[in-house]
């Protein structure tokens, strides 16, 4: 049973090992992160100054669309699935994932999905240019021919996510070590369990939405076409019924990571474990009943607006509970500030700010002014970049010694943090201002009044982009030339089963289940 990995490429092609698959997910998502980042650089370069300097508006629209799609479906989601693959079996004391072969498939169909999506750049009419939210009829009647490939790519991504989630749920529910009751599970496992349920519930809805688009485009149905008795607004309802839970899919595992990192470096147990679990569950539940707050300007009836406004405001309550718990965890701890902790603290601050703007956006009357402006762009980058990317980075630095058996360069890590932190805020903080002053989103050019803040924003974006290359360098440098991690328990304040196995974690762990007290 205790054999090592196969040699050569077949190790990666046919592997059913959760650590190998986790590693592949991480590298794939990082490649996608760089690709999506490159698109963002094109966007910020064009927006550096008013006037059109670099690209045609069509290409700009393809950039915004592909940036969103690649970052959401190619970078953030697979990165968290990678973390889940690596860490969940280690955290619950399981030898592997419950469905190892399906695990292999769910990874290997992803590269094909993104190859298909990327190939649309070379097609007639270009890549999808209708925004990552692809509102009909811009994405149906008025779409470039490549939309069909986009639809199939989304189908494959959806299938991959659903398979991955089924695997995670089956693992968590069935493979826990003896004594590892649900309420003893590390919070990262809890948040992923809830996320996986969200994924299984809403990815099929996205598949349904694109299927209806496909039917409208090629088979003469009229789901979203007013001419045939349909309604384009229906598309938005279906999309956001998926889309709102989707944003929590992106952030909940990040909550999990931060809930591991903060106690470790505060040397103090997580405050309010059970309230954290309930808060996560209630956020997940609420995410299903608030979707139309993305649509306050479509002209819903008053009753609808009021309902979605109230429901949305409620989300602030469990989210606030989480933030208060994190800060209380730190309270009277004995804190040190290694790179993972820095990213985790920045996460708490920046995500809270994203939460405040989220609350503002949830107030229907003022949303009339914020909607589809750069204020929204600032808001969701505060939650998705400072939320998902910062927590991912914290997780990578936190567990990297366990994965590789080597320590990363702390100075480089901290330098990266400060460049990322300053770059991020320089990019996105001014976007609040231009949004409030009236700059709409998804435009390649803008009025002169917005020029100063946009230039700042672009400079920040280049900084932030550079900081990610430093992360890449630091990880490669650790693998190739890192100092050996001396102890199994790399961080003296860390708790959990993953720190009981050697560093680097052997190819097979917990073949005999550990006993959890």
């Amino acid at each position: 049973m205790a054999h090592g990995p196969a040699k050569g490429i077949s190790r990666w092609l046919f592997t059913t090992n959760h650590k190998d698959i986790g590693t592949m997910y991480m590298w794939f998502s990082f490649a996608m992160f760089l690709l999506g980042g490159a698109f963002a650089m094109v966007i910020r370069a064009e927006l550096f100054q008013p006037g059109m300097q670099l690209v045609e508006p069509e290409f700009f629209n393809q950039m915004t669309t592909m940036h969103g799609l690649v970052m959401v479906f190619g970078a953030i989601m697979p990165a968290f699935v990678g973390l889940a693959n690596w860490m969940i079996p280690l955290m619950i004391g399981a030898p592997d994932m419950a469905l190892p072969r399906m695990n292999n498939w769910s990874f290997w169909i992803l590269p094909f999905a993104f190859l298909m999506l990327a190939s649309t750049f070379f097609m007639e009419g270009g890549a999808p240019n209708f925004g990552w939210t692809f509102y009909a009829p811009l994405s149906t009647t008025y779409a470039p021919p490549s939309v069909t490939f986009f639809i199939f790519a989304v189908h494959i991504m959806g299938a991959s996510s659903i398979m991955g989630s089924i695997n995670i749920i089956a693992t968590v529910l069935n493979m826990r070590a003896p004594g590892m009751t649900l309420m003893k599970m590390p919070l990262f496992v809890w948040t992923w369990l809830i996320t996986a349920f969200l994924l299984v519930a809403v990815m099929p809805v996205l598949a349904g939405a694109v299927t209806m688009m496909l039917m409208d485009i090629h088979f003469g149905t009229s789901f979203f076409d007013a001419a045939g008795g349909g309604d384009p607004v229906l598309f938005q309802h279906v999309f956001w019924f998926f889309g709102h839970p989707e944003v929590y899919i992106i952030i909940l595992p990040g909550f999990g990571v931060v809930s591991q990192v903060i106690p470790a470096f505060s040397r103090k147990p997580l405050f309010g474990y059970s309230s954290m679990v309930y808060a996560t569950a209630s956020i997940a539940f609420l995410s299903f009943i608030v979707w139309a707050h993305h649509m306050f300007t479509v002209g819903m009836p008053l009753a609808g607006e009021l309902y979605f406004m109230y429901a949305t405001m409620l989300i602030a309550v469990p989210t606030g509970v989480k933030v208060f718990n994190w800060i209380t965890t730190m309270w009277r701890g004995s804190m040190t500030f290694e790179t993972p902790m820095l990213f985790a603290i920045a996460f708490v601050i920046l995500f809270t700010m994203g939460g405040f703007t989220g609350l503002m956006l949830g107030i229907a009357p003022s949303d009339i002014q914020y909607h589809d402006s750069y204020f929204v762009v600032a808001h969701f980058h505060y939650t998705m970049v400072a939320g998902a990317i910062f927590s991912l980075t914290a997780g990578i630095y936190y567990w990297l010694p366990k994965w590789t058996g080597k320590m990363y360069n702390e100075t480089l890590g901290k330098t990266q943090f400060w460049i990322a932190f300053i770059g991020f805020n320089l990019t996105f903080f001014p976007q609040h201002f231009v949004g409030l002053a009236g700059m709409q989103r998804r435009v390649p050019d803008y009025a002169l009044q917005f020029a100063d803040f946009n230039m700042l924003s672009s400079i920040g974006a280049f900084m932030f982009g550079m900081s990610q290359l430093m992360l890449l360098f630091n990880v490669i440098n650790t693998i190739l030339a890192g100092k050996r991690a001396e102890k199994d328990k790399v961080w003296d304040g860390a708790e959990g089963l993953e720190w009981t196995v050697p560093s680097p974690a052997p190819y097979h762990t917990f073949s005999t289940p550990p006993q959890v007290k």
Binding site: V200, P204, G208, T211, F223, G229
Partner: protein, 189 residues
């Protein structure tokens, strides 16, 4: 022993989740659209119910104390080159009184074309009170090249119309559905 047990429970969990995923897909495609229109009807916003003829209610009382001013609007969707306009720009009616008006449509192209019109009302709360006894929007309208037609609309305003409403704007948008209509004909054959 323990292994087989856990394998069968894994299979059970996975099977349940697959069922959930399939059910959610079906929910999106088969349940959400009709449900959406049910909600539209309940909330009275562009109700689909208004695309079905109502019977003329002879026992209905005409409320002569109120006069409702109805403005008719015509919009051509981008790919619709027909001439399309209301024959009466404004009509004044009492709630409960059955009125008749028509829209003029002319196919200005040299091709056979089929059109469909979609109604929409302002204020939106008036939509459910604008009762159509007979309307060209119930059906598609084919016109030969150069042919023109007056398309009829027989309606009344429900006396339950909220007192605050004195003006209703009825907007009809005309779409070209020639392609869709031809495709449907092909599949019927």
């Amino acid at each position: 022993m323990a292994e087989t047990e856990s394998n069968s429970s894994v299979a059970k969990t996975a099977a349940k989740l697959v069922v959930l995923a399939v059910a959610m897909f079906a929910f999106a495609v088969y349940v959400m659209p009709p449900l959406y229109y049910v909600f539209c009807d309940i909330l009275g916003i562009d109700p689909r119910g208004s695309l079905v003829a109502v019977d003329e209610n002879s026992e209905m009382e005409v409320d002569t104390s109120r006069t409702i001013r109805i403005t008719f609007m015509a919009t051509n969707n981008e790919r619709m080159p027909w001439e399309f306009r209301p024959n009466d720009a404004v009509i004044e009616v009492h709630p409960g009184e059955v009125a008749y008006t028509s829209y003029f449509a002319k196919n200005t192209t040299d091709k056979h074309m089929v059109s469909r019109t979609v109604p929409s009302f302002v204020p939106s709360s008036s939509a459910e009170h604008f009762k159509k006894v007979q309307c060209f929007c119930f059906e598609s309208q084919p016109l030969a090249p150069g042919e023109s037609a007056d398309m009829g609309l027989q309606f009344y305003v429900d006396p339950n119309l909220p007192k605050s409403i004195t003006n209703i704007t009825a907007s009809y948008t005309i779409f070209d559905i020639t392609e869709v209509a031809n495709e449907q004909k092909m599949t019927q054959r």
